[in-house]
């Protein structure tokens, strides 16, 4: 087992394995730092910036920052919570997110975060981009309206040769996820399911598989996002949920 180090998150002393990412260390200590682009165990990208915390007065993303001994972290402060809320709102105005008609509603991490942050309506004006739905692939449908460019699919879904199936295309506001037409045609059911599962929003959908779980029985219909972490036991075995 790696060396244990002590870090402080909002004044609370926490133990963590040296070098583990801060977001994971917090989770082990029953502290939920919200994330969107991060997937535990996959090389982080720091794309959404929602997990930003302050270390030494500077914003750092907790999904990409390894813990070091004595690290002092600000996490639940008005400034940081306001930043996170702004980012969620920005994502809502950047795309076209129509929750009531979305297959992912109830399983959507973006929607769940909006509830957790008590967002009624974004403060920013909607950009109303004109985006397409790509239904040209045999197994999956890509709805660009809902894509938040988290790069989860780009980073995780590779074929057996390690080649990318999903990729970023263009830059700036024109950035979108591109799907390799040839490799998408060869996509296995397992990989297609995985792509759907890891998409935090409803941008990747499996054909002929909608609404298998009824609305009302979905993941975040039962409890808010992050609640499981906050209720869990921390790394030292003690229960800490103050």
């Amino acid at each position: 087992m790696a060396k244990l180090v002590e870090i402080t998150i909002d004044g609370k002393e926490c133990m963590a394995e040296e070098g583990m990412y801060l977001v994971d260390a917090a989770r082990e200590n029953s502290i939920y730092i919200p994330t969107l682009c991060n997937i535990q165990g996959v090389k982080p990208k720091g794309a959404c910036r929602i997990c930003s915390v302050k270390i030494n007065g500077r914003f750092m993303t907790s999904c990409t920052t390894p813990v070091t001994d004595g690290m002092v972290v600000e996490h639940n402060t008005p400034e940081i919570q306001e930043l996170r809320k702004s980012i969620i709102e920005m994502m809502f105005v950047e795309g076209n997110h129509l929750c009531p008609s979305c297959e992912k509603s109830g399983n959507c991490e973006l929607q769940a975060l909006a509830y957790r942050f008590n967002i009624m309506a974004p403060r920013f004006s909607f950009l109303f981009p004109v985006r397409e739905i790509d239904a040209s692939h045999p197994k999956i449908i890509k709805d660009h309206n809902r894509c938040i460019l988290c790069k989860r699919c780009v980073r995780v879904i590779k074929n057996e040769d390690g080649k990318s199936i999903f990729a970023f295309r263009n830059r700036g506001l024109n950035t979108e996820i591109y799907i390799d037409p040839e490799l998408a045609g060869l996509l296995t059911d397992e990989l297609a399911d995985k792509a759907v599962e890891i998409c935090p929003v409803g941008a990747i959908l499996k054909r002929e598989a909608a609404f298998r779980t009824p609305i009302g029985q979905r993941k975040y219909d039962k409890e808010p996002i992050g609640a499981d972490i906050e209720k869990s036991h921390n790394i030292n075995g003690g229960h800490d949920n103050e």
């Binding site: 920052t65 460019l149 080649k163 591109y178």
Partner: protein
């Protein structure tokens, strides 16, 4: 086609980390990168089509469609507009018979916008098939198109004669001027190439070299200002199979052009600086990452690298030091501002999208191909040579205590003598206005769009890392300029265009801010809009790289220092306005039905 692509990928050993070079060669040889080429590259290099696409579509100078036999890229920087870009663009469109971002029907001429190309002291300027055409008037623009249509070659299009200094040399032949107006240690013409390497390296240990650099207190000249000696030391101590020296010659900050002049007039100084750094950290390979806009310097610089080999200043056992082997190659970018950020530059050099990396790890630990890497600016390497030749103490006699040495400035805009000035740190803005012959000054943009817009009340402030930090871009605006429209809006559009789009903050927030600014410029703003812009721009501080973090600086610093300009444009009598333009929204419907809107707009 297949054999052509095959030859190109072979040239780079079918190595996917050389994808940039492969794509550049395909673009050069075919004129664009067609679908068949993408598939062929993917096959040869053994990556997916998606992998090729994601790199290809990131860079501005790559195109999947023909860009015309003559591709004209006209600069969109604020300076270009101030000097008549609109008229030039209009003339080009009229004469070519196509609008911007399209190609004429006969496929002869393509017209495209492009961000600052490093010619701010000779705008409006365009790049035509790699050749620079500065100081364009609408007359000259028309003439260019007519000559192209008359069948003239690229060389024959040049009628203005070549520029000063090396610009008119056989290897460069560029219609570009250096406009050097003040020299100092870096630009000193009495420089003997190789002296520092031959006289100092054989008798010094690498640690002694680093100590001398540390003693000089020199800090990075690209803008971020990291202490150079410390960077070299960290890299020397880092563990890795191989170490790399990178020169960042991707000066993309609008208004900067000093590296272009150094590369033209003092390239040997730069190469020498890279060799010294290599000796200090124990590197065996150096890469000069050069922005695509400066591709006209390619042959010139490659010949100089060859020449240095002949003088035993590059290659094996340099200057007779046994086992000191170091070589330099040039890596071109393909049009991306963000690649000037050091970790994005490394990503690009590895054949990927130029998206900055999260730190830690820092490039000195894990840089190019995950090996310890020093990335320094052109000017930093050049200054380092003078430090090694004359000593750190000597260097400290220039500048201020906090900011030692000199800074090469690129000064443009409303002044009599735009060009290159090497000044000691500590100059204040007033001195600079005097020096460049600027009168009736309304504002000076220090450090490019990512820096600060300062007004006369702040002209006592000095150029230094502690006060007004700058990578070298200074733009002067006189009282006839509409600062919000010409400067702030233009800079904000620049950040939108150039965002690598990896971080949500830098991808989205500048667009939201731009829309607010436009609302104010459209006379629909209210007081709350100014407050909103100040508040909302704070989210950018959570962006990954320094460029994203400063993407709202044009707005933030102009509100700070020119609040009255915003207040003049807002509606004082009301507290709320949606900014929604009903007339514009129903325009299409009205035209289709031939009706006049019956609504009254306040």
């Amino acid at each position: 086609m297949e054999s052509k692509i095959h030859n190109i990928t072979q040239r780079y050993g079918n190595d996917k980390t050389r994808l940039m070079d492969i794509l550049i060669d395909v673009q050069d040889e075919i004129g664009y990168i067609p679908e068949t080429a993408i598939n062929e590259i993917a096959k040869e290099v053994k990556i997916s089509r998606a992998d090729v696409e994601q790199t290809l579509t990131f860079y501005h100078f790559f195109s999947t469609q023909s860009t015309g036999k003559f591709a004209i890229y006209l600069n969109t920087s604020a300076l270009a507009y101030m000097r008549g870009r609109n008229e030039v663009a209009k003339a080009l469109q009229q004469e070519a018979g196509c609008s911007f971002n399209s190609v004429s029907e006969d496929g002869l001429i393509g017209l495209f916008d492009t961000s600052c190309i490093g010619m701010s002291d000779q705008e409006p300027a365009a790049i035509v098939n790699g050749k620079i055409f500065p100081n364009l008037s609408s007359f000259r623009a028309r003439e260019l198109i007519r000559d192209i249509k008359a069948g003239k070659s690229l060389e024959e299009l040049v009628i203005e004669g070549y520029g000063d200094g090396q610009n008119s040399s056989e290897e460069i032949k560029a219609v570009v001027n250096n406009n050097i107006r003040k020299i100092g240690p870096v630009l000193d013409p009495n420089y003997k190439p190789g002296d520092a390497i031959r006289q100092k390296l054989p008798s010094s240990t690498p640690v002694q070299i680093i100590d001398e650099i540390k003693a000089s207190n020199i800090r990075g000249r690209g803008g971020a200002g990291f202490p150079t000696g410390m960077k070299w030391e960290l890299c020397r101590k880092a563990e890795g199979e191989k170490k790399y020296i990178f020169c960042n010659a991707d000066e993309g900050e609008p208004g900067t052009f000093k590296d272009r002049v150094i590369l033209t007039q003092r390239p040997k100084l730069l190469l020498e600086g890279m060799v010294i750094a290599a000796y200090a950290i124990g590197a065996s390979e150096g890469i000069l990452y050069l922005r695509h806009e400066y591709k006209y310097l390619k042959n010139y610089l490659e010949n100089l690298i060859q020449e240095a080999h002949g003088h035993n200043l590059l290659g094996e056992n340099i200057a007779g030091i046994k086992g000191f082997n170091f070589d330099i190659r040039i890596q071109f970018g393909a049009g991306s501002y963000v690649c000037g950020e050091e970790s994005a530059l490394l990503e690009s050099a590895e054949g990927k999208r130029g998206e900055p990396r999260d730190r830690p790890p820092f490039p000195v630990e894990k840089g190019y191909l995950d090996q310890p890497t020093v990335v320094n600016n052109v000017e930093t390497f050049c200054s380092a040579v003078k430090v090694i030749l004359n000593g750190g103490e000597w260097y400290k006699s220039f500048g201020t205590e906090d900011s030692t040495g000199t800074k090469v400035l690129s000064i443009s805009g409303d002044c009599k003598f735009p060009g290159i000035y090497e000044v000691e740190w500590g100059f204040n803005v007033n001195d600079i206005c005097d020096m460049v012959g600027a009168e009736d000054v309304q504002a000076v943009q220090v450090g490019g769009p990512s820096g600060s817009l300062v007004g006369p009340d702040d002209f006592y402030r000095t150029l230094s890392y502690a006060d007004l930090s700058t990578g070298g871009s200074l733009m002067v605006f006189n009282n006839t300029r509409d600062i919000l429209e010409t400067v702030v809006l233009n800079f904000t559009e620049f950040f939108i265009e150039e965002s690598c789009s990896s971080c949500s903050t830098c991808r989205i927030m500048p667009v939201i801010l731009r829309n607010k600014l436009k609302k104010i410029l459209n006379a629909r703003g209210v007081k709350q809009d100014i407050t909103d812009m100040e508040e909302w721009s704070k989210t950018l501080k959570a962006s990954r790289c320094g460029l994203g973090q400063t993407a709202a600086n044009p707005i933030i610093t102009s509100i700070q220092n020119f609040r009255h300009l915003y207040e003049q444009k807002i509606q004082p009598e009301i507290d709320y306005d949606t900014g929604f333009d009903l007339l514009a929204s129903v325009k299409g419907a009205c035209e289709a039905t031939r009706r006049k809107p019956s609504v009254k707009i306040h």
